[in-house]
C-alpha cells in the first residue's frame, strides 16, 4: 500500500470518527443547530449549494468571482513583490527608499484598510483584489530579497570570472537560487490572497463566497455557512495545489540537493 493511500485512508477514518462524534453530540446534547448544526445538516446544506451551483441560485457565479479575486490579488501582490524585491536586492538606493515603506506596510494590519478601499474603489472586485494583493505582498517581498541574497561568494566569483554581466548574474544565478525562497512565500501568499478576498467581500459586496457566508450568517443559516466554508476551502486547496505542483516541477533540483547535503 502506498504512503499516499495510507494517509488518505487514515484521514478518511479520522473524519468519520470525528464527524460521528460531532453528530452524536449535536443530537444528544440538544444544542441549537443555529449554534452548532450536526454534520448531517451541513451535508444537506452542502447538497443544496451543489444543486444550486448551476441551478436557480447560480452559486458558481459567487465561486467564480471569489476565485478571480484571489487569483488576481495573488498575481498582482506577489508579482509586484518579486519585482520590488529584486530591485531592493540589486540596488542600494532603491533599498533605502523602499525599506521604510515596507516596514510601515508590514506594521499596518492590512485588514483595517479594507473599508478605505471600498470607499475608494466601490463594491466591485477591485477593492478585494487590492486587499488580497496587499496581504500577499509582504511574505513574497521578504523572501525574494532573502532568496536573491542567498547566493554564495564562490558562485559570484565564478560568474565574475566568466565575465558575466550583472544582468546575466541576476538571471542565471540569483534568480534560480532564490526560487526555493520565493515558492515557500508563494504558498503562504496563496492562502493570504484567499483571506484578503474574503475580507474584502465582508467589507462590502453583493456577490462572492464571502458575501454568501455573511448572508447565511445574517439569516442564522449556520449549516449553509458551513457549506460555503467547505466550498471556499476546496477552492483554496485547489489553488494551493497549483502552486505546489509548479514548485515540484520548477524546483526539481532543490529536493535532490537537500537530500545530498544531509548525507
Amino acid at each position: 500500500m502506498s504512503e499516499r493511500l495510507k494517509t488518505a485512508l487514515t484521514f478518511g477514518a479520522s473524519l468519520l470518527v470525528l464527524g460521528g462524534a460531532w453528530e452524536l453530540y449535536s443530537v444528544r446534547s440538544g444544542v441549537n443547530s443555529i449554534i452548532l448544526p450536526p454534520p448531517s445538516e451541513i451535508l444537506e446544506a452542502l447538497w443544496f449549494v451543489i444543486e444550486n451551483f448551476f441551478g436557480r441560485l447560480k452559486y458558481w457565479e459567487d465561486t467564480w468571482i471569489t476565485f478571480y479575486e484571489i487569483i488576481f490579488g495573488f498575481l498582482v501582490g506577489s508579482g509586484t513583490a518579486v519585482v520590488v524585491g529584486s530591485l531592493v536586492a540589486e540596488f542600494k538606493s532603491v533599498r533605502r527608499i523602499v525599506t521604510p515603506y515596507t516596514i510601515a506596510l508590514n506594521s499596518t494590519p492590512k485588514i483595517a484598510v479594507a473599508p478605505l478601499f471600498v470607499i475608494w474603489f466601490g463594491f466591485g472586485a477591485m477593492p478585494k483584489i487590492l486587499i488580497a494583493a496587499l496581504i500577499c505582498f509582504f511574505p513574497v517581498f521578504v523572501n525574494t530579497v532573502t532568496g536573491l541574497g542567498s547566493v554564495e561568494e564562490e558562485e559570484l566569483e565564478l560568474m565574475a570570472s566568466i565575465r558575466a554581466s550583472r544582468w546575466q548574474t541576476f538571471f542565471r544565478l540569483k534568480m534560480p537560487r532564490s526560487t526555493p525562497f520565493v515558492f515557500a512565500a508563494l504558498r503562504t501568499a496563496m492562502a493570504f490572497a484567499a483571506i484578503g478576498a474574503i475580507i474584502g467581500e465582508f467589507a462590502g459586496a453583493s456577490e462572492g463566497l464571502g458575501f454568501q457566508i455573511e448572508f447565511a450568517a445574517a439569516r442564522l443559516e449556520t449549516a449553509r455557512l458551513f457549506a460555503f466554508l467547505i466550498v471556499l476551502s476546496v477552492l483554496a486547496y485547489l489553488l494551493y495545489s497549483v502552486i505546489a505542483f509548479a514548485e515540484r516541477k520548477i524546483m526539481f533540483w532543490a529536493a535532490a540537493t537537500r537530500s545530498q547535503r544531509l548525507q
Binding site: 554564495e152 564562490e154 558562485e155 566569483e157 565564478l158 560568474m159 565574475a160 570570472s161 566568466i162 565575465r163 558575466a164 554581466s165 546575466q168 542565471r172 544565478l173 534560480p176 533540483w253 532543490a254 535532490a256 540537493t257 545530498q260
Partner: protein, 303 residues
C-alpha cells in the same frame, strides 16, 4: 568558429602578435606562438606578477597585509604550484591574477596585458565545483559562452569534446547532484576550458576530495593541461600535490604571504600516477616541504 574570442568585456589586445590565430579544439596549441609569419615571437610570460602587495581593509582598524611584495613570472606552457599554509594569501594572489580582486600595489599581466578585471585569458576553478543544481552538466559547461549571448548549439560540439576529454562521457545530461565530488570537479575543468583561456587558475580544486580521488584528479589535471597546452597556477597546501602537478613549486610564507623559495621539478611534463610513489618525486616533495615548514616555524618572514 571555435577559436573566436567572445565577450563584451574584451580587453585591449597586447602589442604582441596574436597567439591564438588557429586554435583547434580541444586539441593542442603551440606553447609558444610560432610567430614566424605574424612577426617577432612574443616575449611575454604567461603571467607576470610585479611587486604585488595586497592590503585588506586599508586604513581601518582591521587592516591586514595579506600579500607583501611578490614578484613572479610564469612562462608560457609552464605549470606552477603556489604552496603555502592556510591564510598565507595564496588564494588572494590567485584571485588577483584572475582579476577578481584589485592589487593594492604592483601590477599583474597575462600575456602582456595588464589585469584590471576578469579576462578571457584566464579560467578559474575553485575548491567547490560551483555547479548550479538547476543546470545539466553540459549546460554548466556551456555557461561561460552562454553568458555572452552565444548560441548553445554553436558550442555544443566543443562542450562534448571537453566532456569526452575529462572522462565525463555519458554524464552531460546528468545533474551535478547525481555526480560524485571528483566528477563534479571534472565538469568544473570543462567549464574552465570552455572559455578557451590561456592561463588556468586553480584554487585548491581538489582540496575537498578524499586522498585517493585527489591523487587521481591530480594525474588527470596534469594530463589535461598538457593535452590542452595551457599555462597553469595551482594553489595548494599539499607539498605532494604541488610537486606532482607542477614544473615549479613556489613556496609562500605565512601571512603576509611572501615568496619563501622555489623548487624546480625538472622531471618532464608527463606525470603518470606511478610517480606518486617514486624516489625521484620524493626529493622535490622533501625540498618543498622543508621550505614550507621552515617558513611556518618562523611564523613568517620579516617584513
Amino acid at each position: 568558429m571555435m577559436a573566436r574570442r567572445f565577450g563584451k568585456n574584451r580587453r585591449s589586445e597586447p602589442v604582441a602578435p596574436e597567439t591564438n590565430s588557429s586554435r583547434s579544439s580541444p586539441g593542442s596549441r603551440p606553447p609558444q606562438p610560432s610567430g614566424a609569419t605574424t612577426g617577432p615571437p612574443t616575449t611575454y610570460p604567461a603571467v607576470r606578477i610585479d611587486r604585488v602587495t595586497k592590503v585588506y581593509n586599508e586604513e581601518t582598524a582591521e587592516e591586514l597585509l595579506a600579500i607583501s611584495d611578490v614578484t613572479l613570472n610564469v612562462e608560457q606552457g609552464e605549470v606552477i604550484a603556489l604552496l603555502g599554509p592556510s591564510g598565507c594569501g595564496k588564494s588572494t594572489l590567485l584571485k588577483m591574477i584572475g582579476g577578481l580582486y584589485p592589487t593594492t600595489e604592483g601590477t599583474i599581466s597575462i600575456d602582456g596585458v595588464e589585469v584590471t578585471e576578469p579576462s578571457e585569458l584566464t579560467g578559474m576553478m575553485f575548491q567547490k565545483p560551483v555547479l548550479f543544481p538547476w543546470l545539466k552538466i553540459v549546460d554548466s559547461i556551456l555557461l561561460p559562452v552562454r553568458v555572452h549571448g552565444e548560441k548553445r548549439a554553436e558550442h555544443l560540439e566543443r562542450a562534448n569534446e571537453l566532456i569526452e576529454l575529462t572522462g565525463l562521457a555519458g554524464f552531460g545530461e546528468s545533474y551535478p547532484w547525481q555526480l560524485s565530488g571528483g566528477m563534479q570537479q571534472r565538469a568544473a575543468i570543462c567549464r574552465m576550458l570552455m572559455g578557451d583561456p590561456s592561463v588556468l587558475l586553480l584554487d585548491e580544486p581538489f582540496g575537498a576530495l578524499d586522498e585517493m580521488t585527489r591523487e587521481y584528479m591530480d594525474v588527470e589535471l596534469r594530463r589535461i593541461i598538457n593535452q590542452q597546452n595551457r599555462s597553469a597556477i595551482l594553489v595548494t597546501h599539499n607539498p605532494l600535490e604541488a610537486a606532482f602537478v607542477a614544473d615549479r613549486v613556489v613556496v609562500l610564507s605565512p601571512r603576509p604571504g611572501q615568496i619563501a623559495g622555489e623548487v624546480e621539478v625538472p622531471i618532464g611534463k608527463e606525470r603518470p600516477d606511478e610517480l606518486f610513489a617514486s624516489d625521484e618525486l620524493n626529493v622535490y616533495i622533501r625540498e618543498a616541504r622543508s621550505l614550507f615548514e621552515r617558513g611556518r616555524g618562523e611564523g613568517g618572514l620579516p617584513t
